[in-house]
């Protein structure tokens, strides 16, 4: 019926305008931004990924132990009571390796906390999935590193991990659960980005995360896995095309510095920069209860067992973390937003927050003579 079509069209157009208006009113950020809290329940993992960023794989002394069930429940209650936390992200290591995972999740559910589960899927069987869905997990994050077992398993160093990850994704698809498919782009697998993301979409992924390999943890020993600028640029074009075709929420969460790649052509991908100390920060609580600015960082802000989060966030350590920048980036007008890429990667790989982060350092000779024309576009963030 033409009249009805006209009304629907008008209504949808106004909805789009309002959505754009909401983005502008919120300063260009999603209105429901964090902060978020990542709980690294354990250092243990059933994979041995070469790209892994877990800091304890490079500096084991950073984690002094692993809290028991009661310790985690007390800490979660404290986060909720003191910081108003409404959602927690379970990570590790592999969080499903904890025997008390269900007990911790049930505790969160009783306190009406929503959950995100970051898992490699190896232990996400039907029973665990059903329990998670019944107890407030409303997003799962699983990684697929290639379109074939050889590519995926070579990066995880775990035979059979590709098939087990696909099996878990199939369970999520069958259960119609919301999940995000993660593609970690390395020099070894980036050529398969289209085939891999297609598989994620076919398996019902509701969001796609394209993360360039960000060295840290075990990954700091494998800098050769870093993709080139051209490879990232070409892969972003593929992800952008697929996101548009399938109306996917796509994001590139590891910083892609605009002086290296102009991200403006990729209009269907959300690009993120370092979130530490911002509204959308994702403070990370390690297995021993100590807090870091993010899950890539080795900087310890304090111990949540003995200090308040507010005390840590107001302290000098976080201020120093966010203020650091390499000399080459100091004149850049976009520095405040870009933060010169990932400070944590620079800290972990080169021992100083003021060093250029690994991907920038590898491409210093590629910086345009006048790089700031691109960086100016993010000044207002």
């Amino acid at each position: 019926m033409p009249r009805r079509n006209w009304l629907q069209t008008t209504l949808r157009r106004w909805q789009r305008e309002l959505a754009a208006e909401r983005v502008r009113l919120s300063g260009g950020r999603p209105a429901h931004a964090g902060p978020y809290y990542i709980l690294e329940l354990t250092t243990r993992c059933n994979q041995d990924c070469r790209y892994c960023y877990n800091v304890w794989k490079l500096r084991p002394e950073l984690v002094t132990g692993e809290m028991d069930t009661g310790g985690w429940c007390d800490l979660i209650a404290k986060l909720q009571d003191e910081a108003g936390c409404r959602r927690v992200t379970f990570s590790g290591g592999e969080p499903l390796l904890r025997d008390d995972f269900r007990a911790i999740l049930a505790f969160c559910h009783r306190r009406r906390l929503a959950g995100i589960l970051i898992t490699n899927g190896q232990r996400l069987d039907a029973g665990t999935l059903a329990f998670c869905l019944d107890h407030g997990v409303d997003m799962f994050e699983l990684t697929l590193l290639g379109a074939d077992a050889v590519t995926h398993d070579r990066l995880t160093c775990t035979p059979g991990s590709w098939e087990r990850a696909l099996a878990a994704m199939t369970r999520l698809y069958k259960a119609q659960a919301p999940w995000c498919g993660v593609f970690v782009a390395t020099s070894e697998n980036i050529g398969q980005v289209r085939q891999t993301v297609e598989m994620l979409i076919a398996l019902g992924a509701t969001a796609i995360m394209f993360n360039r390999f960000n060295p840290g943890g075990r990954g700091a020993h494998h800098l050769n896995l870093m993709p080139s600028v051209e490879q990232v640029r070409d892969a972003l074009a593929v992800v952008d095309e697929l996101a548009a075709t399938y109306s996917l929420f796509a994001s590139a969460s590891i910083p892609i510095m605009p002086c290296l790649v102009d991200t403006s052509p990729y209009r269907h991908i959300g690009f993120g920069f370092c979130a530490a100390a911002r509204d959308n920060a994702y403070y990370t609580v390690g297995p021993d209860g100590r807090v870091r600015p993010c899950n890539h960082s080795a900087t310890v802000l304090g111990d949540l067992g003995t200090q308040s989060l507010a005390e840590m966030l107001a302290g000098p350590v976080l201020a120093e973390f966010t203020a650091a920048a390499p000399e080459v980036c100091r004149p850049c007008p976009g520095l405040a937003a870009c933060r010169a890429g990932c400070r944590a990667a620079a800290e972990v790989c080169f021992g100083s927050l003021a060093e250029p982060e690994p991907w920038l350092r590898a491409n210093l000779d590629r910086l345009p003579p006048v790089p700031w024309s691109l960086c100016e576009k993010i000044v207002t963030l």
Partner: protein
């Protein structure tokens, strides 16, 4: 901080949407000879921001308003990516007049993709069997 002007503009937009929604509802009920089409099952979700890596920030590029005003910014190098096909439609967002997300019509496209990948034997046999069941 939103200015009073922006807030008023946003409020007016919401009022307009509410008004048109009511009109659409009345017309649909009055003019349709058969029951209106069933609201499609919501397949999208309110996008929960994944948090294992930095939270995506919608940059000034993605917030650009409409196709006619889009002008490529001069770049310091020759871009290798193809010229962008500008599609201003957001992927998902919560409707201001309903708590449900705006439905997207991608299930058929996904189904076709799944069929193609199954035909090309891209999945291991067990997974393919599970997907086909």
């Amino acid at each position: 901080m939103a200015t009073p002007d922006k807030q008023r503009k946003s409020l007016m937009l919401r009022l307009k949407i509410t008004l048109v929604s009511l009109v659409a509802l009345v017309l649909s009920a009055a003019c349709s000879p058969k029951p209106t089409q069933k609201t499609p099952t919501i397949t999208c979700y309110e996008p929960v921001m994944p948090t294992d890596t930095p939270e995506p920030i919608v940059t000034c590029y993605t917030a650009t308003a409409s196709p006619p005003t889009f002008t490529p910014t001069p770049m310091c190098y020759t871009p290798t990516a193809p010229p962008p096909t500008f599609t201003p439609t957001p992927t998902t967002f919560t409707s201001p007049i309903s708590p449900l997300p705006t439905p997207t019509s991608t299930s058929e496209a996904r189904h076709l993709l799944r069929e193609r990948l199954l035909t090309e034997d891209r999945f291991p046999r067990d997974i393919a069997r599970e997907l086909e069941s």
